[in-house]
């Protein structure tokens, strides 16, 4: 885990005191809402449907056990006893009081956390692979690179007022578990033929109302030019991004309108110039960061045996654990998707418990996934059953990772001011339907993602099945999309046709699932079958 140095801690502490003063001035009337609003947003405090909402940054989704426990305590102390883990690998609290927000931020700062740059047109929290440092297939741990970029982008004066928000993801394996190509910049750490480490840059991806898959603009940037190249990408965007129209302001529109080749040419030109300016931090900084992410002291000689006599446990092992690079270990995924539950929500007790389990079972580390689950990255196989029993006793053992029950859903109209329709009730009905009809297992990997409006916080474009809430004359209506993916085979889903009401969309999803079951060939996932047979058979079944 990265540990703050004195600069980090001083910056965060100073920011808390600054916000305390700003809040005091707002409450006493010295600051109008017009003046205060951008200040609170810079500290992650939104005004949402029911109250103030605070979004806490979790850099690359990694948390220590102690940090997780504090997140649970905050849910009790300042909220209504729960929190919502988001697709940005962050956590949001829905019921924050303005008068208490400075104290909350002070509590966060004590465990090296904050809510800075979780809003506004700046470089947002950097996301990464939730199995970083554990995955059997990774080239290196991507997090030191993400951390370097975090330091570069924190309070970067030139990039504090970009045309629009800016999201970066860093991965280091060919398997993409971070929706890398759907970010403003997606970076894959790679090795070239000479065996040197570098970064492939994918620029101009995104979801929202104009979804785009980022093209690769440079297959190999030497690692000691990572920051300089990122700076060049941002500079060209900052110069030419559309500030006149919020809907055209993201970098994806610039890259699209300018053309990938011209954008790349300008980046290379800026890059050549920047190389003469010596802005790259010395490699020593990267080397200073790396040990924080060094492997924990894995035990040697552990057995890979797992006692599978308990069938519930065996199913959970099959569904919710993932191969680890160290013999005798696995990564265990705690599903926050109980059947009929609210995707991504966890109670204060559950959050604290997960923090304790991280400490006891996983070298004091856990991760937030963009699929709104929690990972214990390094668990001894021999201790899995004990872990499972604790999870099971606390409503955290749903064996449904990557199944149709493992739904991503944004807060939707239950919490979000921008929403057109509710997302959560649809997720609840779908998980209940498929758990009830017993088709979950048969369907295998099927990623279903729901957004309550076109902003796509729930990644609906990238779901094998996607659902988008729209407003039809003041009534909630849901469109169905098929064929999206946010993995290494990234693609954007296509709308099937006219939308449905809440029950209608659940039926439509089941019909689509049945078309897959009827047409699949050996080893095909839903997505593979869709890609092979196309939209028509699905349309026929759904509307026919």
């Amino acid at each position: 885990m990265y540990k703050y140095d004195n600069y980090d801690q001083q910056m965060v502490d100073a920011r808390v005191e600054e916000f305390r003063d700003q809040t005091r001035r707002r409450l006493s009337g010295e600051l109008s809402e017009e003046k205060f609003r951008p200040l609170r947003l810079m500290n992650g405090l939104y005004l949402q449907l029911h109250a103030y909402m605070l979004r806490v940054a979790v850099p690359y989704g990694t948390l220590s056990g102690a940090q997780m426990k504090v997140l649970g305590d905050i849910a009790d102390k300042y909220d209504r006893g729960y929190g919502h883990f988001t697709t940005r690998q962050n956590i949001q609290y829905n019921w924050i009081k303005l008068e208490e927000a400075p104290d909350l931020l002070a509590d966060l700062a004590k465990v090296e956390m904050h809510a800075i740059q979780t809003s506004g047109n700046c470089i947002r929290n950097i996301s990464s692979d939730h199995f970083a440092g554990a995955a059997a297939d990774e080239l290196v741990d991507p997090r030191p690179y993400a951390e370097l970029l975090r330091q570069w982008s924190s309070f970067h004066p030139e990039f504090s007022y970009l045309p629009r928000k800016f999201k970066i993801a860093v991965i280091a394996s060919d398997t993409d578990r971070a929706a890398m190509r759907l970010h403003d910049i997606g970076i894959q750490i790679v090795k070239n033929e000479a065996g040197e480490i570098g970064a492939a840059f994918y620029v101009g991806g995104g979801m929202g109302r104009t979804p785009m898959v980022a093209p690769c603009i440079n297959e190999f940037v030497p690692i000691d030019q990572l920051v300089t190249y990122s700076e060049a990408c941002l500079r060209v965007y900052n110069r030419h991004g559309r500030r006149d129209n919020k809907y055209k302001a993201r970098i994806k529109i610039l890259v699209h309108e300018m053309g990938k080749d011209e954008y790349t040419r300008q980046v290379e030109e800026e890059f050549a110039h920047l190389l003469t300016q010596g802005i790259e931090p010395p490699l020593a900084e990267l080397e200073r960061i790396k040990p924080y992410f060094a492997d924990p002291a894995f035990k040697a000689g552990l057995s890979d045996e797992i006692d599978r006599t308990d069938p519930d446990f065996a199913l959970w092992v099959d569904r919710n654990t993932v191969a680890h690079k160290a013999p005798g270990y696995v990564s265990a995924v705690i599903s926050l998707k109980p059947v009929g539950g609210i995707p991504g929500d966890a109670s204060a007790d559950q959050i604290r418990l997960m923090g304790e389990l991280a400490t006891d079972y996983s070298f004091d580390e856990c991760r937030v996934t963009h699929t709104q689950n929690i990972v214990l990255p390094h668990v001894e196989k021999a201790r899995l059953k004990d872990l499972f029993d604790v999870l099971d006793a606390n409503g955290l053992s749903s064996p449904n990772l990557d199944t149709i029950e493992d739904i991503i859903a944004c807060p939707g109209l239950d919490y979000c001011t921008l929403a057109n329709a509710r997302s959560i009730p649809v997720a609840q009905k779908i998980s209940e339907r498929f758990s009830g009809n017993g088709k979950t297992a048969e369907l295998g990997e099927l990623k279903l993602k729901i957004s309550g409006c076109i902003n796509a916080c729930g990644h609906h474009h990238a779901g094998h099945i996607g659902i988008l809430g729209v407003d039809r004359k003041g009534v909630e209506n849901y469109q169905l999309l098929l064929g999206g993916s946010e993995a290494e085979d990234t693609s954007l889903g296509k709308i099937t046709g006219p939308g449905f009401d809440e029950d209608g969309i659940v039926d439509a999803v089941e019909k689509a699932a049945d078309v897959y079951i009827a047409n699949r060939e050996d080893g095909e996932r839903f997505l593979d079958t869709y890609r092979r047979i196309g939209m028509d058979p699905f349309k026929e079944a759904i509307y026919g």
Binding site: L49, W95, Y415, A419
Partner: protein, 98 residues
């Protein structure tokens, strides 16, 4: 009718103009007619409310009913957490918004 809503500055709670002050209960909301902007400006200036705006509503046998579903959800609370709504004892409370 037109009713006026906003959030409490300190707590963020959803509030409704009841003619004299701000209530947590939509049923206390009164018709503000043409006065919405005037009341909103005055109340925001005195920091009793933040982000006040007028919405359409009607009255029926259950009381005041905002015209748009978004405002009905604001009035009630999240439909997926009946325990946190204005009617925590009623698991079906969410049906009111539809």
């Amino acid at each position: 009718m037109k009713i006026l809503t906003g959030n409490d500055l300190k707590t963020g709670d959803v509030t409704w103009w009841d003619g004299q002050g701000w209530s947590r209960h939509v049923n206390d909301a009164v018709d503000v007619g043409e006065k919405a902007d005037e009341i909103a400006a005055r109340e925001e200036a005195s920091r009793n409310v933040v982000g006040a705006y007028a919405i359409d509503a009607a009255t029926d046998e259950n009381g005041v009913r905002p015209a748009h579903i978004k405002e009905r959800i604001r009035a009630l609370g999240p439909t997926v957490r009946p325990d946190l709504t204005l009617k925590p004892a009623d698991p079906e409370a969410g049906n009111w918004v539809i």
